[in-house]
């Protein structure tokens, strides 16, 4: 038999205790076979309802033999609880299929003795008249299968929007401050006849410019590797088929990107700080910096 979960057992005991008018602990003990079952002389009212076309018989007889008082409320004469309804109620509230033991059909009783074969089995004392007993535990199963597992979520407002707002404000403050102290460069007017030496690209292309300076671009055909690089970079998710996301399980990818970052960083820093006239190597602390983007900042010191 199924292992009955503790909480269901407790609910069944509560129901039994209520039906018989005994304490819950006692009912539980009885169900586990640790105590003698309570004997109730009175017929369970449901049975009376099912048997009877004569409602007069239903009036509760005063209980005398029971050691514990029975506090069962008498069923009203015009009993309306249909067995179906009651069963339904039991099923939905308890998630336990309750089966009524009736006296008339002995077949209903039959399976009970057969089950008393394991010692740890819950004993419902079938010789006692009980209104309900725990036959089996039906696991709650939804009609539709959920496709995804529930996720731990929080409200966007305020838990996401507030941090967003704060970082937005911080960024604005930072940008205004930066713009107030750092003047954007404006050199002499454009003159196609005067080539500055060195002529540098914007900083985000300086790594590239540095790289290109190693080859004669006309020969090396630099644009092909460049365009290929961008295409490969776009296709990267389709190339990297490793489904793992944890860094320890994608060491190669992590290493690859870190090398790329380091390389790009080094090339850019060389391009920004260590290249002077004629694209010759210079030391910023000896020869100065040729990087007009930060003109104001350089002259600042």
């Amino acid at each position: 038999m199924v292992d009955i979960p503790e909480h269901l057992l407790k609910r069944a005991a509560q129901a039994r205790a209520k039906a018989l008018g005994i304490s819950v602990e006692k009912a539980l003990a009885e169900m586990k076979g640790q105590e003698d079952p309570t004997i109730v002389s009175k017929e369970p009212e449901v049975i009376a309802f099912e048997e009877v076309p004569t409602p007069a018989a239903e009036t509760p007889a005063p209980v005398t033999e029971t050691p514990v008082p029975v506090t069962e409320t008498p069923a009203p004469a015009a009993e309306t609880i249909s067995p179906v309804k009651e069963e339904h109620a039991a099923e939905t509230t308890e998630k336990v299929a309750a089966v009524k033991i009736e006296q008339k059909p002995p077949a209903a009783k039959a399976p009970a003795p057969a089950k008393v074969d394991t010692p740890d089995e819950v004993d419902f004392a079938p010789e006692v008249k009980v209104t309900q007993r725990l036959l089996t535990v039906v696991k709650a199963k939804p009609i539709q299968k959920p496709v995804s597992e529930p996720v731990d979520k929080v409200n966007t407002w305020p838990h996401l929007m507030l941090p967003e707002f704060v970082s937005l404000m911080a960024m604005t403050a930072f940008l205004i401050l930066l713009s107030a102290i750092l003047q954007a460069p404006l050199l002499e007017e454009a003159n196609p006849n005067v080539t500055p030496n060195p002529a540098k690209a914007p900083w985000y292309f300086l790594g590239l410019q540095e790289l290109l300076s190693y080859w004669d671009p006309q020969i090396a055909g630099v644009m092909i590797p460049l365009v290929l690089g961008v295409v490969v970079w776009m296709a990267f998710p389709y190339i990297d088929r490793n489904p793992e996301t944890h860094p320890s399980k994608r060491k190669f990818a992590i290493m690859f990107y870190t090398f790329f970052l380091a390389g790009a960083g080094v090339l850019t820093i060389i391009g920004v700080l260590f290249r002077g006239p004629g694209w010759n190597w210079t030391y910023p602390w000896i020869d100065g910096i040729w990087f007009d983007d930060l003109l104001d900042w350089i002259h600042f010191e």
Binding site: L175, F205, P243
Partner: protein, 257 residues
């Protein structure tokens, strides 16, 4: 009844006036139910949902997000900041357009902006440093996405869109670089354009198309200006919309690791 002090009576009048204004027809026509600007807003789970759901923000954010996703340490807000910098650049850029002509006068206009126009220098600086910052932040955002493996299924295509966004960001920055029409601008762009010229087979055509001629002239300036203020922003906004939409449709933020 207890007699109220003048101060309390003023307070009461003020409260009832604001209440009848906030609860009035005008405010409730502007703000949808659940808005904190309406009368009687209380902080409840239902109203927290309404703040997003009954709001234009619903286009950007779902009502609920994964708990780990709101930790600042997960995204570092880098994608959001890229977007926000784009907005700052749009606002300051439109402001700059009032004072800028993409002709021989471009340089003079920038000079005037720096010296004659109130806040001109500040706004120009914000636009320029903001642009540099955006390139940096987008790059960092890409790095964070890579290190989280956030480009993996089902987010492969959003990475493709992301690379396009990166290219568009670089192009926006690069076309803007020419506009001040000073020596820095023209020669940086010349260097960049010459790189395009090294493309095999179509190099000369690529360079000619970029420069609108053989070298950087005012025709190049006009071309870059139109690309910078109209064409590229238009394209990038479309790709951003798809990008944000895919973030949601791919199941929100990735992870946790």
């Amino acid at each position: 009844m207890q007699k109220l002090s003048l101060r309390d009576r003023i307070k009461e009048a003020r409260v009832s006036a604001t209440d009848s204004f906030r609860g009035g027809k005008l405010m409730s026509s502007i703000f949808r139910p659940g808005s904190p600007f309406r009368k009687g807003y209380v902080d409840s789970p239902r109203n927290r949902s309404y703040v997003v759901m009954n709001n234009v923000l619903y286009h950007l954010h779902p009502v609920k997000v994964k708990r780990h996703g709101v930790r600042l340490s997960y995204t570092l807000c880098l994608g959001g900041l890229s977007f926000f910098l784009f907005i700052v650049l749009t606002i300051t850029g439109i402001w700059l357009m009032f004072y800028f002509r993409p002709t021989e006068l471009a340089y003079v206009d920038i000079q005037a902006l720096q010296t004659d126009i109130a806040f001109g220098s500040l706004v120009r600086n914000m636009h320029r440093w903001g642009a540099h910052l955006m390139v940096l932040v987008v790059f960092l955002h890409m790095s964070r996405v890579f290190y989280h493996g956030a480009y993996k299924a089902p987010r492969e295509f959003n990475w493709v869109i992301g690379v396009i966004l990166l290219l568009l960001t670089l192009l926006l920055s690069f076309t803007g670089y020419l506009l001040p029409w000073d020596q820095l601008a023209i020669w940086a762009v010349t260097v960049g354009g010459n790189m395009a010229g090294y493309t095999p087979v179509i190099g000369a055509q690529a360079k000619f198309g970029l420069f609108a001629g053989l070298e950087a002239t005012t025709a190049t300036l006009l071309r870059f200006y139109v690309l910078h203020v109209l064409f590229l922003p238009f394209i990038i906004v479309i790709f951003m919309a798809v990008h944000f939409w895919r973030v949601r449709k791919d199941g929100g933020i990735s992870g946790p690791l």
